[in-house]
């Protein structure tokens, strides 16, 4: 605990100027808490009081499961029969036990039980997973006060209201706590609320003054207190309560409350009292049930089912009317039916009653039109598809060991139809880790390493130029070559760097300044100043790693840590901070001699988002007072003195370069200050600091402003907000796939734009449309102004002539609040859709969800939201597909998501490969399903016309039962699981193929109706060909005529052949599994027929020995099968031949290329096509490279007259 004690001497609250000013507790006095809504009373450290009513509150056990052991059956059954189709089949099953049914009861009930049982098993499995997750959370351990000042571990679920707990560094808070004290003397602690609101910066919480002495285990021996506070509610940012301690009452506010699921950072430990437990805690109150999402195809499927239902109703009505008419007029003459002795079902005297009862029979008989097995097959297929996704080794992250996971299998095919991706930034695109990469000191740029963006772009450009090399004129080739060489060096230098042991936060590479060599540089003094600013101007705290003897730094923002690491590597090691001083250990040469210097900290004007700069005023060992300032370049440049602008031009150029390379930049400046000048200012400052009132902040700001002027520019830093692995490439591919990518981030506009550059969502030459809010009090005015900006921008885009022009829309949260209002949002959406990329900054979690909803509902296209933090939960739930990043941060996003992946880059494979496949699979599968059921179901109807509409089926019950279950289900499932039009590599090489999904080429009404028409045609062919062939003639040499079972069996054989051949033609990818299933199904049918015929006639009835004795020896049976099968499939074959010849789809061509091995023979053509495929994209680094090449070409053409060829300036 040595570290803790060193720290304890620090009172950080004194360091800050703007934040953290402690309001006097006595000033406000206790809240008056009475009446409803404020009934909660917590007896601190007396958990026994909470064992019984009225103080017995909910336990800390949380459950996110949908069902429990007892409610599972009724609830899950209810869910199942919520589906219209299932309800229909339930009704059918009930009716099937009455004589109304045309089938035996078991043939109706068995499939229903199977279908419902399977779905319920799936539900149970998913709920079980949730339960296991809960168990994991519930059994986390935390230290609690056992009594007598002794702390012991217990699991979270056993925690009770009133318990005193001790939470240690980097642990999550187990419940909502009242902060009593921390390892810092002044009771401050840092909390990361990533899981609550997604903000990555640390929040400061502070304990009440009175509880500060409770900073040891032993001090809790006799501690008691009483908290009266509000009832559980979901508001994260409010808390009202009173704390009664030592006969005094103190007011509590949100800054003393530590919320469950936030994390303690930078502090060794805190003590707290549990206030809200389990589902009472604010974060759980915030949890909303995830809406059940259904995919677009599934929703459309409902419509198709309605269509089929209407068809079913129509033919049932026709049947029942036909039956009633026949019964009334014809049946009295049919003496062989004994019409005088009938029951109600066939009574000619009551034709209406007979008709009505027959309607029910008919509805059941033609029930085969509605494929009961469709749902269950789809469920099975989706589960298998999900298994593929889960098992995909290429989406497995080796670092974290997390595979991709399809958490719900309902949305697999939706992945293939995504139009817009809404992405979170931190943790999703970036790792939230800063790397010091480059700097510009005194007008000279240092740092050889390149950012990932540059690297990715360079590789792209190199391959492109290589390609162009062959085609272009010699001039151009030389140019290309030169550029290539240059690029190669970049690539190589990066490669070397990888071999070195990387230092976290530091990727700088330049021998001129490393290892003390900077002393030999021309501007050594400026360089030294630069490093000092890095080492001094910050708010971080050093921490000695006792094992290695080096320091690590804990800071509010990761940038600062990166600066400090950089300074340390340059030889300026920040090693100690006291109340009034900063100690820096300076090392001037490689020899290792060090000098400890102390800088007296006079004032600190820390960073706020409004000021965008930070200044410290220090006195160095020589007594010189220095003002050291770092901040956003625009801010700093405005505050430079006349003679401080020496390096401005060069630095600006470098800053632009850095910006282009996707780096975060800050400018550094300083000035020297005279003693008198300082003391005059300081007096004013102190005075302002002690004033009390509303304008205090304003005064402080003004005074700070006075100090931060006439600065001298030193240089600039470039920090890479480290993108996650593969993000630029992934975005590039997604852009090629025609997806729109919106970034919704809680970050500042500048950061967001930087990241935009880093991810190639923005590039130089792209027209940025910034919608900003004007500062005005009147809401109306602001709104009107925003509307005006939006219309102007839309106008501008409309008037744009350049086909390569791309626009980017940047909007911040406050403006967005207006833009999302009902009357503006439509215009906003129109504008946003026209832009190639959209970046929304400083948006709240709720706004993220709102934007998602706007896109989803406004454009009607499929949206995908991806994020990693709890702040993305709203968006993830709102979007059509939610993807959670299962990174290091909490599990909220993952829990709310439909798919979870370990890194953003896996999104490419998830969408372009799996999404594309799943979409096609499901679409084709559903189409085929309708085809097959129509083809089958309608033959039943035709037969009715020949059977007096009596409800007799021509097929044996068992045939019908097995039709959907065994005989046609496996091929269609194999289609749904294994079908792939093009291989995964091709999918990734030609992401444009993905567009087939969003354009919905495979499940539009044209396609569906085509398949239905095909089904109708097949049913007609199957029925009538068979009827005519077997009409009244003997079908065997022995003279026997075809009885009903013989005809039915032949017809059924034709159906099995025709349907299975059809699916064989539909598939384009065969493995032995498909062959096995398709031909196996046909074989199964014959096998079944054989076995069924072998059974005793009391079971097989009319089908007894039918194959062996009657059909198989009759050549006409085989001939009819052949003829009907061919006739059924002929139109489909003609159709696909025609389509392939004259309107080939993308994947057809690619299949051909692959088939003829063109890609192997003609590599150049292959790459050219790949590069051409990229041309249309507006974003991604390919687009960026293309834009750059265009730019270069343009330049070249202008230069052409002069024979000299310059080496291209990469800085252009």
């Amino acid at each position: 605990m040595t570290r803790g004690r060193i720290r304890a001497r620090l009172r950080l609250s004194h360091l800050y100027t703007f934040a953290c000013t402690r309001p006097e507790a006595t000033e406000e006095g206790p809240h008056s808490i009475e009446g409803p809504g404020y009934s909660r009373i917590v007896h601190c450290n007396q958990p026994l009081m909470h064992k019984k009513k009225p103080f017995k509150y909910r336990s800390n056990y949380i459950s996110t499961t949908k069902y429990n052991f007892f409610t599972f059956l009724p609830k899950a059954l209810y869910e199942q029969f919520h589906r219209v189709a299932n309800l229909y089949f339930l009704a059918a099953a009930i009716v099937s036990v009455t004589p109304l049914s045309p089938f035996s009861a078991v043939s109706m009930i068995a499939p229903l039980v199977f279908v419902v049982g399977l779905s319920m098993a799936k539900e149970a499995l998913e709920d079980w997973r949730r339960f296991m997750q809960d168990v994991k959370v519930n059994s986390r351990k935390v230290k609690f006060h056992k009594g007598e000042g002794v702390f012991d571990y217990k699991s979270w679920k056993k925690l009770q209201v009133g318990d005193v707990v001790k939470v240690e560094k980097d642990q999550f808070f187990p419940a909502d706590l009242l902060l009593l004290s921390s390892s810092y003397e002044d009771g401050i602690c840092y909390v990361e609320t990533m899981n609550l609101d997604g903000e990555t910066n640390l929040k400061v919480k502070r304990a009440l003054e009175v509880t500060l002495p409770l900073d040891e285990d032993a001090s809790f021996k006799n501690f008691t207190g009483k908290i009266k506070c509000e009832d559980p509610n979901p508001s994260l940012y409010t808390f009202i309560g009173n704390f009664e301690y030592d006969h005094e009452v103190y007011a509590l506010d949100p800054s003393q409350i530590l919320l469950r699921d936030s994390k303690l950072r930078n502090i060794a430990f805190v003590y707290g009292v549990v206030i809200f437990t389990g589902h009472d805690s604010k974060v759980m109150q915030n949890a909303t049930k995830s809406p059940s999402k259904r995919s677009r195809i599934e929703r459309k499927m409902d419509y198709i089912i309605y269509v089929l239902f209407s068809l079913l109703l129509v033919i049932s009505l026709v049947s029942s009317i036909g039956f009633a008419v026949k019964t009334k007029f014809d049946m009295p003459d049919w003496w062989y039916l004994q019409p005088q002795n009938t029951d109600d079902y066939y009574d000619p005297r009551k034709p209406v009653l007979s008709g009505v009862t027959h309607l029910i029979t008919a509805l059941m008989l033609y029930g085969y039109l509605i494929p009961i097995s469709l749902y269950v097959s789809i469920e099975v297929v989706k589960v298998l598809q999900a298994t593929f996704i889960n098992q995909d080794i290429q989406m497995y992250d080796e670092e974290t060991g997390n595979p991709a996971q399809a958490r719900t299998s309902n949305l697999n095919e939706e992945l293939g139809q995504v139009d817009t991706i809404l992405s979170d930034k931190t943790g999703t695109l970036t790792c939230n880790q800063m790397d010091f990469l480059k700097c510009s000191i005194a007008g000279t740029a240092y740092g050889m390493s390149s950012s990932e963006v540059e690297l990715a772009a360079a590789q792209q450009m190199a391959s492109d130029l290589e390609d162009q090399d062959v085609e272009r004129s010699t001039d151009f080739r030389q140019k290309g070559k030169q550029q290539e060489i240059e690029l190669e060096t970049v690539v190589i230098s990066k490669d070397e760097m990888v071999h070195k042991s990387p230092i976290k936060g530091f990727s700088f590479e330049d021998s001129r300044v490393m290892g003390g060599n900077w002393l030999n540089e021309p501007n050594a003094d400026v360089i030294m100043l630069f490093f000092r600013i890095l080492a001094i101007c910050h708010t971080a705290v050093p921490e000695l790693n006792e094992e290695t003897g080096s320091y690590t730094y804990e800071s509010e923002s990761p940038d600062e840590a990166a600066f400090l690491v950089a300074a340390r590597e340059f030889g300026f090691e920040f090693c100690k901070r006291t109340q009034s001083s900063v100690f820096v250990r300076e090392r001037y040469s490689a020899s290792g001699q060090t000098i400890d210097r102390e800088f007296k900290l006079l004032n600190m004007l820390e960073f706020t988002s409004k000021r965008k700069r930070m200044t410290v005023i220090v006195r160095d060992e020589d007594g010189q007072i220095l003002v050291l300032c770092k901040g956003a370049d625009s801010i700093i440049f405005d505050r430079l003195s006349k003679n401080g602008r020496l390096y401005e031009e060069d630095t600006t150029r470098h800053l632009n370069e850095y910006g282009e390379a996707g780096l975060r930049t800050l400018a550094l400046a300083y000035k020297r200050l005279g003693e008198s000048e300082y003391s005059a200012w300081n007096n004013e400052f102190q005075e302002a600091k002690t004033t009390i009132g509303a304008d205090r902040d304003l005064m402080l700001e003004n005074i700070a402003e006075m100090m931060e002027k006439d600065l001298i520019l030193v240089g600039a830093t470039a920090v890479e907000d480290k993108l996650q692995k593969g993000v630029p490439q992934c975005i590039d591919k997604l852009a090629q796939a025609g997806l729109k990518i919106w970034v919704l981030t809680g970050d500042k506009v500048e950061t967001a734009i930087n990241i935009g550059y880093a991810c190639s969502l923005l590039r130089q030459g792209m027209k940025q449309v910034c919608i900003t809010e004007i500062s005005s009090d009147a809401k109306e005015v602001v709104k009107e102004n925003i509307l005006l900006q939006i219309t102007n921008a839309s106008q501008m885009i409309k008037l744009e002539r350049d086909p390569h022009a791309a626009f980017a829309l940047i909007i911040d949260g406050k403006t967005l609040a207006y833009a999302l209002e009902d009357d503006v949002k439509q215009q906003f959406l129109v504008l946003a859709v026209q832009c190639a990329s959209v970046i929304c900054c400083r948006v709240s979690p709720k706004q993220k969800a709102l934007v998602t909803r706007l896109v989803k509902e406004g454009t009607g296209k499929t949206t995908l939201a991806i994020g990693d933090g709890a702040n993305d939960v709203g968006m993830i739930k709102e979007a059509d597909i939610g993807v959670g990043i299962s990174g290091v941060e909490g599990m909220q996003a993952v829990m709310a998501s439909d798919f979870s992946i370990a890194q953003f880059r896996f999104l490419e494979r998830l969408l372009v490969v799996h999404g594309h496949w799943c979409y096609k699979r499901i679409a084709q599968m559903v189409c085929y399903f309708f085809y097959k059921n129509i083809a089958f179901g309608l033959t039943l109807f035709y037969f009715e016309a020949f059977a007096g509409f009596s409800g007799q089926s021509i097929y044996d019950d068992w045939y019908m039962l097995l039709f959907n279950v065994l005989l046609t289900s496996l091929p269609v499932i194999s289609l749904g699981v294994f079908e792939q039009d093009v291989s995964s590599e091709v999918c990734l090489q030609f992401p444009a193929v993905y567009q087939q999904g969003p354009k919905n080429l495979f499940f539009d009404w044209y396609k569906i109706l085509g398949w239905m028409g095909n089904g109708l045609y097949s049913s007609l062919i199957i029925f009538f060909l068979n009827i005519i062939i077997f009409y009244d003639q003997a079908f065997r040499e022995e003279g026997q005529t075809a009885s009903m079972p013989a005809l039915g069996t032949t017809m059924f054989t034709c159906i099995i052949w025709a349907l299975n051949c059809q699916i064989a033609f539909t598939m384009s990818h065969f493995t032995w599994i498909q062959h096995l299933f398709i031909w196996g199904s046909i074989a199964t049918w014959y096998l079944f027929l054989f076995v069924y015929g072998r059974l005793s006639p009391s079971i097989s009835g009319n089908a007894f020995q039918i194959l062996v004795e009657a059909l198989a020896p009759a050549p006409i049976y085989w001939l009819a099968t052949l003829l009907v099968t061919i006739a059924c499939n002929l139109p489909y074959l003609a159709h696909i031949s025609y389509q392939r010849c004259f309107h080939p789809l993308d994947h057809h061509i690619i299949q051909e290329i692959k088939y003829y091995k063109k890609d192997v023979e003609d590599q150049r053509m292959w790459t050219r096509e790949r590069s051409r495929a990229r041309e249309r994209t507006m974003i991604g680094f390919s687009a960026r490279v293309d834009a750059k090449i265009r730019q270069l070409k343009g330049k070249l053409q202008r230069k052409q007259p002069s024979s000299e060829i310059h080496s291209p300036a990469r800085s252009s």
């Binding site: 004994q338 062939i1029 003997a1034 009903m1044 009391s1098 020995q1105 031949s1137």
Partner: protein
């Protein structure tokens, strides 16, 4: 792609060839339901047929127009007779047919289940409405021998109709349906019944009556003495007598041949059309200009 049509077409054409060449079936059809009712009764055929006192003898002449090689199959054909009606199809008890009175649960036989509280064997509408016209064939004064054995499926005789089950209490009710059964003969040998109980799929059907195992020459005249017992007059159904030879494909089946020719021809012509189109508008395989990014009309 067009290539696939060629084998398909050839196979079907080959099949059709076989069908047409080999199905040289001779068939004589004679409708007798009207002509066998005496002129005076034609106004009210139903009461004629229901009147047991009137003899139902009738003679028909059938002229053989083409040489018929034995065996010649004799069929009776009924039209507009719904043997496939659900009420009718269900009204039987397979268990009773096999086990006789030992099997009691004959509820499926409604409404012909029992009479005078005694069960009926065989029960059900199908058996009750057994066809009972009989035919005798005479050529040149000599009776042609009609083989009425083995007209039913062997499996039916062997496994579905009991060997020791005799008709019982059959056609004793107030309502008399069709033919009666000789109570001395076990069900497994009542081949007329067995054939009849194989219900037909369509309302117009033929059922095998027997075989003539002698050849018939051209211009032979066959005199048919028949008993016109069965009532089809109530519902206006036709009755026909059919004599037919058979081939390896069974009876006369012109349609099958035509269908095969049609399908074969259409697939061959499709093959030719696609070949021609392919030659004329040749699209090189893997032509990149069809890819979306190369298409001019591509938008978005």
């Amino acid at each position: 792609m067009g290539v696939i049509f060629i084998p398909v077409g050839l196979v079907t054409l080959r099949a059709s060839h076989c069908v047409i060449i080999h199905s040289m079936v001779v068939e004589i059809v004679d409708r007798y339901d009207i002509d066998c009712v005496p002129e005076p009764s034609r106004m009210d055929k139903v009461s004629y047929i229901q009147d047991d006192s009137i003899p139902k003898n009738c003679s028909r002449f059938m002229k053989v127009h083409k040489y018929m090689k034995a065996p010649i199959y004799i069929y009776y054909q009924l039209d507009n007779y719904y043997q496939n009606h659900r009420r009718y199809v269900k009204s039987r008890s397979d268990k009773q047919l096999l086990d006789g009175q030992k099997y009691h649960d004959t509820s499926s036989c409604q409404p012909v289940e029992s009479n005078n509280n005694r069960p009926i064997v065989p029960c059900g509408l199908i058996a009750w409405s057994l066809f009972n016209d009989t035919f005798k064939f005479i050529r040149e004064g000599a009776e042609l021998i009609v083989n009425r054995k083995n007209i039913a499926w062997k499996s039916d005789r062997g496994h579905k109709f009991g060997k020791n089950i005799y008709p019982f209490n059959f056609q004793n009710g107030t309502l008399i349906g069709g033919g009666k059964l000789n109570p001395e003969i076990p069900l497994s040998d009542q081949e007329d019944l067995i054939v009849w109980m194989r219900t037909s799929a369509l309302p117009s059907f033929r059922k095998l009556y027997g075989r003539i195992e002698e050849d018939l020459d051209v211009d032979d005249v066959v005199v048919v003495n028949l008993m016109n017992n069965y009532n089809t007059y109530s519902f206006g159904g036709k009755k026909k007598l059919v004599l037919s030879t058979s081939s390896w494909l069974g009876g006369k089946n012109d349609f099958l041949g035509h269908a095969c020719v049609f399908v074969g021809c259409s697939s061959l012509s499709l093959a030719i059309i696609f070949m021609l189109l392919h030659v004329k508008y040749r699209r090189p395989y893997g032509d990149m200009s069809y890819l979306p990014w190369n298409r001019k009309s591509f938008s978005g």
